[in-house]
């Protein structure tokens, strides 16, 4: 049920947004008609059969030391869809994202309550090795972070450390093709990954992540360090990847959420409750008919 979108329609729907931002005071600007028209292409299924849920949080809470960062978050992330997490800075959206592959623990002194289920199994279970979780849940970071090695070695790194048995050349080509980078780099795979432009680096990092065949791909503001053209390429890529992967993306940019995602989660922190999920639903519904007043305030730019 994935949506195929041509580059031309992408550009048509984007254009008015670039030239006539209507946002009164917000940097990102609120969602516009174009976004919503685009989001309408998304699936209209509201109820998800459980076998179509890849990741689900159940009453999940998290503390950094004594500071609470997430409060009783419950949501279900559907298979082969793009799910966006939006919300103001400090609302816990990155923390929620990093809870799925247990990257939060690397900061140290993290305590959790509740569950995060990956294919029905709690990733915080006693017998679960976070290293295995992280192979199954790929991640792309805000700043492109290729290793200071060749393009080829970058793509192969995860495969090699995880004992990949197969043809390396084929894996490199296939991963780079899926990341829409192959045509630009196929001539010189020995070139350092750091010699690429920022947008290319981010696609290289995506190729590196999908080379280990993850079940979920997490993206933490993957385009916020990129220029608008590179950003559009990443967004197109996310749509294409959604045919084979389940994608969860954190973004500050609401137009981006409206453009690329099928489902959107809106999070918020206030004095009483840190890192709560306010609303979660199909992107089109969340942007056109938000159920919660706070969601409406946020997406229309009336917040604060």
């Amino acid at each position: 049920m994935s949506i195929v979108r041509g580059a031309e329609t992408e550009n048509q729907t984007r254009e008015p947004r670039v030239t006539a931002p209507e946002g009164p005071q917000m940097v990102d600007g609120p969602a516009t008609a174009g976004d919503i028209a685009q989001a309408k292409g998304a699936t209209r299924r509201h109820e998800m059969p459980s076998d179509n849920v890849v990741v689900s949080a159940e009453n999940f809470s998290l503390w950094y030391g004594s500071v609470r960062a997430l409060t009783n978050v419950s949501l279900e992330i559907p298979r082969n869809k793009v799910t966006a997490i939006i919300g103001p800075s400090g609302c816990g959206k990155s923390t929620l994202l990093r809870s799925i592959n247990r990257m939060n623990e690397l900061i140290g002194n993290v305590r959790t309550e509740g569950k995060v289920l990956l294919e029905g199994r709690d990733v915080y279970g006693k017998d679960v090795d976070p290293v295995e979780v992280r192979r199954r849940v790929g991640m792309v970071f805000q700043k492109p972070n290729p290793f200071p090695r060749s393009i080829r070695d970058n793509v192969l790194y995860g495969a090699k450390i995880n004992g990949y048995r197969g043809d390396y050349d084929q894996l490199v080509e296939q991963s780079l093709r899926q990341a829409a980078l192959w045509d630009e780099v196929k001539g010189d795979l020995k070139k350092s990954g750091l010699a690429l432009s920022g947008g290319q680096q981010q696609r290289l990092v995506i190729a590196r992540a999908i080379a280990v065949a993850p079940e979920v791909l997490l993206m933490d503001e993957p385009a916020s360090a990129l220029d608008p053209i590179a950003t559009l390429k990443i967004e197109d890529l996310m749509r294409e990847l959604a045919e084979n992967y389940t994608i969860v993306v954190v973004t500050h940019n609401m137009q981006q959420a409206a453009r690329v995602s099928d489902y959107t989660a809106f999070m918020l922190s206030d004095e009483k409750t840190k890192g709560m999920l306010v609303e979660f639903g199909p992107t089109q519904q969340l942007f056109t008919a938000p159920q919660d007043k706070r969601t409406e305030d946020y997406i229309t730019g009336r917040f604060g």
Binding site: L106, R134, M139, N162
Partner: protein, 297 residues
């Protein structure tokens, strides 16, 4: 050029004083240059003085001969071989210990009271006078471990002496590795060790090597701890293994300068030139390795 006073918002004025500010800057540059000049001049004077004294005595025979009570027949061979042996053993012992400690403290040990305690003490150990290490070495390695007055006892003592420097420098180098590499590696399902082995160590290695150069440079000139553990001033054989008795260049040099005859002072100068040459060779090897390794990663 803007005038020195300008009218700004609300009628307030800026007194830019650009000339004075520039002058202060120029003054600072001059001071810095003078400081560098004093250091360079002193060094140059020392080197010229030593080289002038050393030239008549420097010859192949000087390098291949053992010391003698006749200045003309004396050579530096025993001290040179002793120093090379001692430095090789010291680095062999101190480098793995130091780097492993640094990796553990930076990558594995959590931030708790114990690691902070260890951290403060390592920093303090780097400042302990070297003679104290000599006494420690004498008691532990020479007496308790019965290594006698051997190269190995000397190398272990020297390793203790430079370990804090190596650990501190290696930790700095490891801390300078961008955490984005660690994140990227771990997020791909690498274990901690794979991440350290494939990314942290290669990236930090040039910095670690620099720390080792500094540490080894300190060790090569040390005399006091070796005198305490009983390195000899007069050795007429080459070291044959880690358990041989030994002398080192600085001790040999010190010994010659303390003799009354003028000729031996020339020998001492020649010995200093050899010591400098060894030091420079050692550093060049380390720098070469550093360049090669940093290109490869």
């Amino acid at each position: 050029m803007a005038s020195s006073t300008q009218v700004a918002h609300g009628g307030a004025t800026f007194r830019t004083n650009l000339a004075t500010r520039r002058l202060k800057g120029a003054l600072f540059v001059a001071l810095g240059l003078a400081a560098v000049g004093i250091g360079l001049l002193t060094l140059l004077t020392l080197i010229i003085d030593v080289v002038v004294d050393a030239v008549p005595w420097l010859s192949w025979d000087f390098i291949t001969s053992y010391p003698s009570r006749f200045a003309e027949e004396s050579g530096i061979r025993a001290g040179l071989l002793g120093t090379v042996w001692l430095m090789a053993l010291t680095i062999l012992i101190a480098l793995p210990l130091g780097v492993l400690s640094a990796v553990y403290l930076e990558e594995y040990a959590g931030d708790n009271r114990f690691t902070r305690f260890v951290q403060v003490n390592i920093a303090n150990l780097a400042g302990v006078p070297s003679i104290v290490y000599g006494l420690l070495g004498l008691q532990i390695f020479v007496r308790m471990m019965r290594l006698e007055r051997s190269l190995l006892a000397g190398a272990l003592t020297m390793a203790l002496l430079i370990l804090p420097i190596i650990i501190v420098a290696s930790r700095e180098a490891i801390r300078a590795v961008p955490s984005s590499f660690r994140d990227a590696s771990l997020a791909l399902g690498a274990t901690k060790w794979q991440t350290v082995r494939n990314h942290v160590l290669p990236y930090a290695f040039p910095g670690i090597l620099t720390g080792n150069i500094l540490a080894a440079s300190r060790a090569i000139g040390e005399t006091a701890p070796l005198l305490v553990i009983g390195a000899l001033a007069y050795v007429a054989t080459s070291p044959s293994g880690p358990l041989s008795r030994f002398t080192v260049l600085p001790i040999q040099i010190y010994n010659w300068t303390s003799l009354p005859q003028q000729d031996f002072h020339g020998l001492a100068a020649a010995g200093i030139v050899v010591l400098l040459a060894v030091l420079l060779t050692m550093n060049s090897i380390a720098i070469y390795l550093r360049q090669r390794l940093s290109r490869r990663y």
